[in-house]
């Protein structure tokens, strides 16, 4: 029974990773950049909900909507101000460093506004825990997180494959120049990707902080890195890959915390990533790239 409860907690954590990883994977697929600031957008989302719900005492649904809106605007702004001017730059490293700068900026802004002390985040999930068996209860947060993750994945897959804007995204991620020739507005498509990714980050942040209710300016950075690992794990650029990678990562992390060592759980997660990449260098669902001479 204990194993089952660890497993369920792992899936819940993995679902959060999966939602963050979706944002990562879409941005990487289109802009071909590691967006190190993605984790900090999560943190901004958390603080927004915290301010609206715990400090201003407004209803929870309003808090979530405001948080999603704030993060969306933030993501699009970051892209337009910090990343877009560097898109044609000679080295792809420059935009990586700029992303790191943005990450520092967001963390220190939060530090200035909210202070370094951790804030107790009250869960936004109204559902009570469900008791299945004697020692097995599933918390409301777990149920909501997993359902949210599945819905987001399905909607996103449909959006990318069926709508015009989604197919434009696919085209841009395949070949920017050719997409432009076909009359696709590349800038707008990339902005849209950042908007979706950041909105997902806000949702993931709210779910993460509901399950692990302590909020500091650095809350987002480690889940951000783990989610990126999940995205790479599943094959970066692939939506089902992010989902699978996230879930596997969450389960491994929780099981190794429970059975091996809580201090080494991160090391084990990274070790599994290394092994997977050694066997399959583009991740589980990644496409094999042909090299041109």
């Amino acid at each position: 029974m204990a194993f089952l409860s660890y497993l369920i907690n792992g899936i819940s954590l993995g679902a959060v990773y999966a939602i963050i990883a979706l944002g990562y994977t879409m941005v990487y697929g289109i802009a071909k950049m590691l967006n190190f600031a993605h984790g900090d957008v999560i943190m901004v989302g958390c603080y927004t909900v915290f301010s609206v719900v715990s400090m201003a005492h407004l209803p929870v649904w309003l808090g979530i909507i405001i948080s999603v809106a704030v993060c969306t605007v933030l993501g699009v702004t970051i892209e337009a101000v910090a990343y877009r001017p560097l898109r044609q730059a000679s080295s792809s490293l420059t935009v990586l460093i700029t992303a790191i700068g943005v990450s520092y900026l967001l963390q220190n802004l939060a530090l200035l506004i909210f202070g370094a002390n951790s804030k107790a985040f009250t869960s936004v999930v109204p559902i009570k825990a469900v008791k299945i068996a004697d020692k097995l209860t599933i918390t409301g947060e777990t149920i909501v997180t997993v359902i949210a993750c599945i819905i987001i994945m399905i909607v996103l897959t449909l959006f990318v494959n069926k709508t015009k804007a989604g197919r434009a995204m696919l085209a841009v991620s395949e070949d920017k120049g050719a997409a432009q020739l076909m009359g696709i507005n590349v800038n707008r498509t990339i902005s849209l990707t950042f908007a979706i990714g950041s909105a997902l980050a806000a949702i993931a942040g709210v779910l993460l902080c509901s399950a692990y209710p302590s909020l500091t300016p650095y809350t987002g950075s480690m889940p951000g890195i783990k989610a990126f690992v999940a995205a790479v794990f599943g094959g970066i650029g692939s939506i089902p890959g992010a989902f699978i990678g996230g879930i596997i990562l969450g389960v491994i992390e929780n099981l190794s915390k429970a059975y091996i060592s809580s201090q080494l759980s991160d090391a084990i997660v990274f070790l599994v990533l290394i092994i997977v990449l050694m066997v399959k260098p583009t991740g589980i669902l990644g496409k094999k790239l042909q090299e041109k001479v």
């Binding site: 560097l86 490293l93 420059t94 460093i97 790191i100 802004l109 970066i236 070790l271």
Partner: protein
Amino acid sequence: MKSFFKKNKDTLITLGIVTIAYIIIEIFVKSGSISSLFKGLLVPICSYIILAISLNLTVGILGELSLGHAGFMCIGAFTSAFFSKLTVGVITPDWLRFILAILIGFLFAGIFGFLIGMPVLRLKGDYLAIVTLAFGEIIKNLMGVLYVGRDSRGLHLSIKDSISLGLEEGGQVIINGAQGITGTPKDSTFTAGFILIVISLIIILNFINSREGRAVMAIRDNLIAAESVGINVTRYKLLAFSLSAALAGVAGVLYSHNLNSLMATTKNFGYNMSIMILVFVVLGGIGSIRGSLISAVILTLLPELLRGLSTYRMLIYAIVLITMMLFNWAPSARAFRARIIDMLPFGKKKASDKEVQ
């Protein structure tokens, strides 16, 4: 003799800058006109410089993005501090022990670089970056749970806690898990740091200008072309990667022998540190050793100089970082700069030079 100077002009200029800076700072230190805060920064700056120039070997010369450089620094720091603590009082004089400690840090970090490089260098680009990050985190986490003790029967090792080492009475715990190593002899001085910087500079600059260095740069510029002229790609990649790791180990030695207690935390050996070193390298100019040297100094001093602004300093640091990246690299900003230079009467030649390039 003349051809020697001509050939090594660039190296000599870099070494000259370092030596002059060293002499000036030493004069300030001796005359006591430097604050204790700045004095305390001297050794860390030396180790950051070595980290930056060694990472530049991987990022600039080999052309691979590594986010695990702090991990190699961690290896160097822990192995050498372990050695120093083990042999304190056994090997005299102190400087001989410190030299041996440096060699041990260099060697172990190099071996780890070789072992990690073998599988990792098969990957490319961002995948390589994330795997090096993963290795760095693994090293940091392992150091946090490692317990080593010594008693009359020899050394004992455990990854659980200090009790399970089963030490005899009078036994000594040397590496104490998350508490790390305490009481490392304080061998690092500013002069030692300066000498190590000079040695690392000579090693790296010589490597770049050697046959091996040219082979590595050929691989960076075009892997397939390099392969087709018979360059052993794996061998040269591994060589550059291990050398870079070994020098990071030396930086770790310098770092650990400056601290009373050495712990593996997220702050000093985590990926944040690796990223900070990468920022030095990119801002100083990828592939430019002198650039990394200067940017490591400026970027370490910047937050300290801004200390008067207290809480705002890291915010300003972040804004400066973003602005500098945009201003240096964005094509529109470059065009704007070229226009400004064109307008100046004395800058005309330089701007037209750039266009030719």
